[in-house]
């Protein structure tokens, strides 16, 4: 057994603490090339990650960078710095700890590169930036350890893909570097381990004691949830009672808009004026920091929040987590519940609030899964090539490189281990010449191959542009909101929402009702409003799809004879559906046809998640149009898509030919807005569109133009271009999520149950109340435009001026 150095062991003893078994294991395995620690919140996970560094620095206090700590959140880096200083000072270690994020001052950054601290705390983006400088080899040569915090969250996004490429680059600069990952509970630890390790090295996985099972249940309410909707407003009273009974409650919502409405309603019911705050990603940073500080100081009884609080510092005294709306994903639910783990050895307490009748089923299924510790998650798949393109450019910014060596280095990143040399060369070609079929840029290549075979930037000034473009976080087109005459921002709304506002409209932001006054220099100006019925701002915040595993669980639940675990009202509803039609089955596809209010309806229970069902709606209505069924519109949820039109569907089978649906994706869907958004995200990452140009476009400078034009141009003239290939790959997940449609087709294998009825069915009925109906007519926009311009002309009276 490797003992901790005396002063560190004494420090534990002085504080009356025991070294946790997993902390001890981390010290013992400190020399492993890769180590993954999976531990619940509050288990001293971060300290476990740093103990070996403290021990090594105690033994050998040499100067230079020893440990690099990477976290997905800037705030977390700053927080760790504070928390780590305590043991370092109390133990009496001579260790310099600094953080480096987008908020670090210019002079501080310069100094850090010249004279790095022992422990540097940073984010994936700041690390990528450091690696783009020529002095990176000198700065990182002595690096011994890298600690990746919240790696489970990073592993789900391109930020993690980028980080792993950066670690591969670091490993070349510092071959002795050892890797440590810190993770919350995940479904497949080995996958995270493979992600972390330098391929093909193994990664040892250490599992900390997960602590007692959480105490989770559905929140009991006086009235049943409504048939549709997502706000959970019916449960306000019951939630308020729980807040009163607990010290501090986190109230999670799936979307920012729902958090805003709920917060508003909660305050209307807050007769005792309990201190309750709101926290989500569209609020101004200062506002968020204020709420966080109040929370840490124990001044708040509850916070209404979104995924913005999924990660980050321990909140101290949280003793209850309430999840409003179906959790969509069991793993995230379990991780959220872990936020209430204020005492390592006490069970976390959580309550679920289904927002509508169907979500009752989903919540019960999620509860079962959480109790069985049956977590879900889809494998991430291969590292995306847009991230690789950016990585190649970062390499080029740092100095000349050899293509073969870079390819080898890339394969060390676990998520890129399957990358072929040809695929790599395509990315290099894209970075060098644009990779167009029409070789237009031979004179102006971005990267040039020198006589000695190394690649370098043609124009060294390009390095600056590359640095400004680093990162994989998607910018959304948002506009700041502020009170007229005040400089301080309240938060942000989506540009398209801002565009839909006219003077006098009211909406909710940061829990306040405000009145739209106008636009000024790309800022939405508002005033305070006493209105009671605000509209709700739309936010880009990701709308999660119900996971494959949870959808499957729901389908299996439907197969039971009766449902004692469900509340009576919900069990009766399912029973009625079984009597008048049938319930969807895991290996079959249920399609219902029925007339309603003069329209023919088709309901497809695909259970493929919201994004895929939306895409399915687009593809099916297109096919129905070809079959002359005159579809008029559709609405999609996580489990079904409801289509209405003029003609009845007599045979459902021809609609679900896999080849036709795939062709629809390739041809017709290629022109759709979701594909353009998918393209844009990748084009920014790969460096085809510069981030700063995206900003300039927002400010309305005429020199910049929409990325949609680039997409349309490529689609027309160069459809096999690398960026289009990447866009098609990305369409298998994310917004388009065609992969889930493929999964649905593979699962049901043409076994279609087409039920024709004379009226709407119990399971389809809630869909009629869903928001987000999509009109099918492609000419709809033109028609709406015609109506609206004509109306404006008439109202203003200047329509008469025509020909004047």
């Amino acid at each position: 057994m490797t003992a901790l150095p005396r002063p560190i062991a004494d420090w534990f003893a002085r504080n009356g603490w025991q070294v946790h078994a997993h902390q001890q294991a981390m010290v013992e395995r400190a020399q492993d090339p890769a180590l993954l620690l999976i531990a619940p919140t509050g288990g001293g996970k971060t300290l476990a990650g740093f103990l070996p560094s403290l021990a090594e620095l105690h033994e050998d206090g040499r100067a230079g960078l020893h440990t690099l700590y990477i976290s997905p959140l800037k705030a977390l880096a700053a927080d760790i710095k504070r928390n780590l200083r305590r043991p370092v000072e109390e133990i009496g270690l001579d260790i310099r700890i600094e953080d480096r994020t987008g908020d670090t001052s210019q002079s501080q950054r310069k100094r850090q590169r010249a004279d790095p601290p022992h422990i540097l705390l940073t984010t994936p983006e700041s690390l990528a930036l450091l690696l783009s400088y020529e002095d990176a080899p000198r700065m990182f040569a002595g690096l011994s350890r890298v600690v990746v915090d919240e790696i489970h969250a990073l592993a789900e996004s391109k930020r993690g893909d980028q980080l792993m490429l950066a670690l591969a680059q670091l490993q070349t600069l510092a071959p002795q570097m050892r890797r440590v990952g810190l993770s919350a509970t995940v479904e497949d630890p080995q996958a995270i381990g493979d992600f972390l390790a330098c391929h093909p090295q193994p990664c040892k996985i250490l599992l900390a004691d997960p602590g007692p099972d959480p105490d989770i249940a559905m929140l009991k309410t006086d009235q049943p949830p409504p048939w549709s909707g997502g706000g959970g407003a019916y449960a306000i009273g019951a939630v308020m009672e729980e807040v009163k009974k607990h010290k501090t409650t986190l109230i999670f919502h799936n979307t920012r808009a729902q958090a805003e409405i709920f917060f508003h309603n909660l305050w209307l019911a807050n007769s005792e004026n309990l201190p309750i705050g709101i926290h989500h990603g569209s609020l101004d940073r200062q506002q968020r920091q204020k709420v966080e500080a109040a929370m840490v100081a124990g001044q708040l009884r509850a916070i209404v929040c979104t995924g913005s609080l999924d990660l980050g510092i321990d909140w101290g005294d949280v003793d209850l987590v309430i999840q409003v709306g179906a959790p969509k994903n069991v793993k995230r639910l379990v991780q959220r519940i872990g936020r209430a783990n204020h005492q390592y050895n006490a069970p976390s307490k959580a309550l679920l609030v289904p927002a509508n009748r169907f979500e009752v089923v989903e919540c019960v299924a999620a509860l079962e899964a959480a109790r069985e510790r049956d977590l879900d998650g889809d494998p991430r798949g291969r590292g995306p090539r847009d991230v690789l393109c950016q990585h190649i450019l970062i390499h080029a910014a740092a100095g000349p490189f050899d293509a073969g060596a870079l390819f080898q280095e890339t394969q060390c990143a676990g998520n890129f281990r399957d990358l072929t040399r040809a695929e790599f060369d395509d990315c290099l070609e894209f970075c060098a010449t644009g990779g167009y079929a029409l070789r237009a840029y031979d004179r102006w290549q971005r990267l040039q191959r020198r006589a000695d075979g190394l690649w370098q930037l043609r124009d060294p000034r390009a390095a600056q542009r590359i640095r400004m473009n680093i990162g994989t976080i998607q910018d959304s087109d948002t506009m700041k909101v502020r009170f007229r005459g005040h400089a301080k921002a309240l938060g942000e709304v989506e540009e398209s929402f801002a565009a839909s506002l006219s003077e006098g409209d009211t909406f909710l932001i940061g829990g306040q009702i405000v009145r739209y006054e106008g636009l000024r220099e790309m800022t939405v100006e508002v005033s305070k409003s006493a209105s009671r019925k605000p509209r709700v701002a739309t936010f880009t915040g990701t709308k999660f799809s119900t996971s494959t595993q949870l959808s499957q669980r729901i389908l299996r639940m439907f197969q039971k004879d009766h449902w004692p675990e469900l509340p009576g009202h919900t069990a009766e509803w399912l029973g009625l559906q079984r009597r008048v039609s049938r319930l969807p089955e895991p290996g079959r596809l249920l399609v219902e046809s029925f007339p309603h209010e003069g329209r023919q309806h088709v309901c497809v229970y695909g259970f493929a998640g919201r994004n895929a069902m939306q895409t399915l709606g687009l593809l099916l209505t297109r096919q129905m149009e070809n079959l002359c069924l005159d579809p008029l519109g559709f609405v999609a949820t996580d489990y079904a898509v409801l289509i209405w039109g003029l003609e009845p569907l007599l045979d459902a089978k021809p609609l679900f030919h896999a080849a036709d649906l795939r062709e629809g994706l390739e041809t017709w869907l290629a022109g759709n807005a979701v594909m353009k958004r998918t393209f844009r995200a990748s084009a920014v990452i790969a460096g085809l569109i510069e981030r700063n140009t995206a900003g300039a476009r927002k400010s309305g400078r005429q020199a910049t133009f929409s990325s949609d034009i680039l997409y349309d141009t490529l689609l027309k003239y160069d459809p096999e271009h690398l960026m289009m290939q990447i866009t098609r790959e990305e369409a298998l997940r994310g917004l388009v999520d065609f992969g889930r449609i493929e999964e649905m087709l593979a699962r049901t294998k043409g076994r279609i149950d087409h039920v024709t009825l004379d009226r709407v069915t119990p399971l389809a009925a809630p869909l009629f109340l869903e928001m987000g109906r999509v009109p099918v007519n492609g000419a709809a926009e033109e028609r709406l435009l015609q109506e609206e311009t004509e109306r404006l002309m008439t109202v203003s009276g200047i329509g008469d001026l025509k020909g004047a």
Partner: protein, 225 residues
């Protein structure tokens, strides 16, 4: 032509849905802000390497418009090339294409701020074209009337049943028309920008381009002092 018909200083004009301006009496078709060679210029300056197909695409649309109305006079209202070097960068095929379009037509290149000097293409090179009652120039003058100009790439936004739509547009009042940018790789300046609200009269119209031309009151912002 598919477009919005209006009268400027007595001249009967059509603001085409394509973004071109048609003066039927003179069989004159006007395009503004083509920005040919934009992708090449960006790459040359070390910027992004955009898909190098925009000159081809712009020429295709010009050709379709010219054929549709059988124009005999073509006016390119300035910023026809993204810079003077971009004019030299056109591929041989694109140069021939342009020459073919010019054959048998009067072709006028108006100077713009991006292409202020002579360019190596056939046709007439002018700072302004006076064709009474109209004057064609790149940048609008506050005191002018009967004026056709470009430069600003105006676009207008409106909300149709909650759907925000933004389109390049013509701005039209009793004194002038400001044309939208025609080039494939061009963006726009919102019509509520102060400079446009200052130039255009209160009763100005915005004619949105696209598959159909839609006229509406010009969305305005605060005018400059």
């Amino acid at each position: 032509m598919n477009g919005y018909a209006f009268t400027l200083a007595g001249a009967e004009l059509v603001a085409c849905a394509s973004g071109a301006l048609w003066w039927a009496d003179r069989r004159l078709l006007c395009f503004s802000d083509l920005h040919l060679g934009k992708a090449e210029r960006m790459a040359r300056r070390g910027g992004a390497m955009l898909p190098p197909y925009e000159t081809q695409d712009t020429l295709e649309r010009i050709e379709a418009d010219i054929r549709a109305c059988n124009a005999t006079t073509i006016v390119c209202l300035g910023d026809s090339f993204d810079d003077l070097a971009a004019a030299d960068s056109l591929s041989e095929a694109e140069r021939l294409w342009l020459t073919r379009l010019q054959a048998g037509r009067r072709w006028v290149w108006i100077e713009g701020n991006h292409d202020p000097g002579p360019i190596d293409f056939g046709g007439t090179h002018l700072a302004e074209l006076h064709s009474p009652p109209l004057a064609f120039r790149h940048i609008a003058r506050t005191s002018a009337s009967g004026e056709v100009s470009g430069h600003y790439h105006p676009k207008a936004r409106l909300s149709a049943r909650g759907r925000g739509v933004s389109r390049p547009c013509f701005l039209i009042d009793g004194d002038r028309v400001i044309m939208p940018a025609y080039g494939t790789y061009t963006g726009g300046l919102r019509s509520d920008a102060p400079v446009l609200s200052t130039l255009m009269r209160r009763e100005a119209l915005a004619v949105l381009t696209g598959t159909k031309a839609h006229a509406m009151p010009m969305p305005r912002g605060e005018a400059l002092e």
